[in-house]
């Protein structure tokens, strides 16, 4: 467990935690953090206190979250243009909006966030129906989706997750961590519930019917 970490000076704890998040290539989950903190070799460091070593094991998560909050307070208070955000079920450094908007005016940054309608549709289908094959995507969209799927693969928003045991053994696709990062969601459960979307769509369809009738009456009146 992370007793050795907890016995360190709190300022030092925060620095080590900040290092882990800063150096991690992907959003790092709280479980990965706890695991890594457990495995780091702190033998050269002599403990300064043991005030926190009494924290119950099931409170470790909360304590780490508390430290991350404190780091974020420090980052804002000292005018750093970035902070730690929670995305893809993990923690990652990202620019604050008021500074990111300057980058957004530069094409090399802006273009990365550009998606065609077809790409968004295809991503939506893959996000809900994964693992899904290209023919299955095409059935829903009613149109050839080869190029779109390829460009999503190329942008690392989807990945091959296997092959389906049907004729031709087509690839099955699923979404990536990059997808969660770009769209700023923690996990697929944060997407709208499909049944709710269905009722919404059906209600919209029926309301159109209503509008039509009202329009008709208006015209008559």
């Amino acid at each position: 467990m992370i007793e050795k970490f907890l016995s360190l000076d709190k300022a030092y704890q925060k620095q080590i935690l900040e290092t882990l998040i800063f150096a991690s290539e992907q959003p790092i989950t709280i479980y990965e953090i706890l695991d890594l903190l457990d495995r780091i070799d702190f033998s050269e460091i002599h403990s300064k206190n043991d005030a926190h070593s009494s924290i119950e094991s099931n409170k470790h998560n909360d304590y780490i979250k508390h430290l991350i909050e404190e780091i974020n307070h420090e980052l804002v208070a000292t005018n750093r243009p970035y902070l730690i955000i929670s995305v893809a079920n993990g923690y990652v450094f990202a620019t604050r909006n008021e500074f990111g908007k300057f980058l957004g005016s530069l094409p090399q940054f802006k273009n990365k966030k550009r998606f065609s309608k077809a790409m968004l549709e295809t991503l939506a289908i893959i996000a809900y129906k994964q693992p899904i094959t290209k023919p299955e995507i095409e059935e829903i969209r009613g149109t050839n989706s080869n190029e779109i799927v390829n460009s999503l693969l190329e942008r690392n928003l989807i990945k091959i997750v296997g092959r389906k045991d049907t004729i031709g053994r087509p690839f099955m696709y699923g979404t990536t961590i990059e997808f969660l990062k770009i769209f700023g969601i923690n996990n697929l459960n944060e997407l709208p519930n499909l049944d709710e979307v269905r009722s919404l769509v059906e209600a919209q369809n029926k309301r159109e019917e209503l509008t039509l009738k009202i329009d008709f009456e208006d015209e008559g009146g």
Partner: protein, 241 residues
């Protein structure tokens, strides 16, 4: 008649939804005859403008005409089973598509929220290594791997134009016999499966053999879209022999 600029439709479903929205059509009671005419006139316009018409538009056109024909059947038949409205399948497909269009708007909104969020660009901890290697070392996915291989073999094709081709061991007759032998047990097979692990000359040989078999009407070949796999089936002529 006036000019408007339209984004190209994502497909026939997208086009149908456009008509439905524009004309405030009740999706549960689509005037099939009117919408079929609109759909066909759109295709005609594409033809006039010399735009290549994707096969799915033609498939949808035939589906619409089929529904239209069924709708014209005598009323008493329609009464027998109300739920078998010939439009049902199409309506379900349109609603399913609407659902994902709706979700894609949610994704668009999330994207909007994230438009000014940029992640840290480089994650490297071994800095001395970074200074010398980073420019040439790039993260790679399985697609980069495949692309590297593809580019290498196509490069070799260009560079080594004169390749010794060892086709002598195999003749067209052999390839035909081989295909027929496989198809006797398999009944149908895809071209890719047939040519699995085949070298390029053998691949070509198989292809020529298939053309010959099709010509002799012993097999027929079917391809769903231009770049999809080709499936081979035995014809009745073959089965009768």
């Amino acid at each position: 008649m006036y000019k408007i600029v339209l984004p190209i439709f994502e497909g026939p479903l997208d086009l149908l939804l456009y008509f439905i929205k524009r004309d405030e059509i009740n999706i549960y009671d689509i005037p099939i005859s009117k919408i079929t005419d609109e759909f066909l006139s759109y295709i005609k316009k594409m033809q006039e403008l010399d735009i290549e018409i994707a096969s799915e538009f033609l498939v949808m056109a035939s589906t619409l005409m089929e529904i239209k024909a069924k709708m014209l059947l005598p009323i008493e038949q329609k009464d027998i089973a109300e739920e078998q409205d010939p439009r049902n399948g199409l309506v379900q497909q349109l609603i399913e598509y609407q659902i994902f269009k709706e979700v894609s708007q949610f994704l668009e909104a999330k994207l909007e929220q994230m438009q000014y969020t940029f992640y840290r660009g480089i994650y490297e901890t071994e800095i001395p290594e970074l200074s010398t290697k980073l420019k040439t070392f790039k993260p790679a996915t399985v697609y980069d791997l495949a692309k590297a291989f593809y580019e290498m073999i196509t490069r070799n094709e260009n560079n080594l134009a004169v390749q010794s081709i060892k086709t002598t061991e195999l003749k067209i007759e052999d390839a035909i016999a081989k295909i027929l032998e496989i198809m006797r047990t398999e009944k149908q097979i895809s071209f890719k499966t047939l040519c699995q692990n085949a070298s390029k000359p053998v691949f070509v040989l198989f292809f020529v053999a298939i053309l010959e078999l099709v010509k002799q009407k012993l097999i027929y070949a079917y391809q769903s879209t231009f770049d999809s796999d080709i499936f081979l089936f035995l014809t009745s002529k073959f089965q009768n022999n």
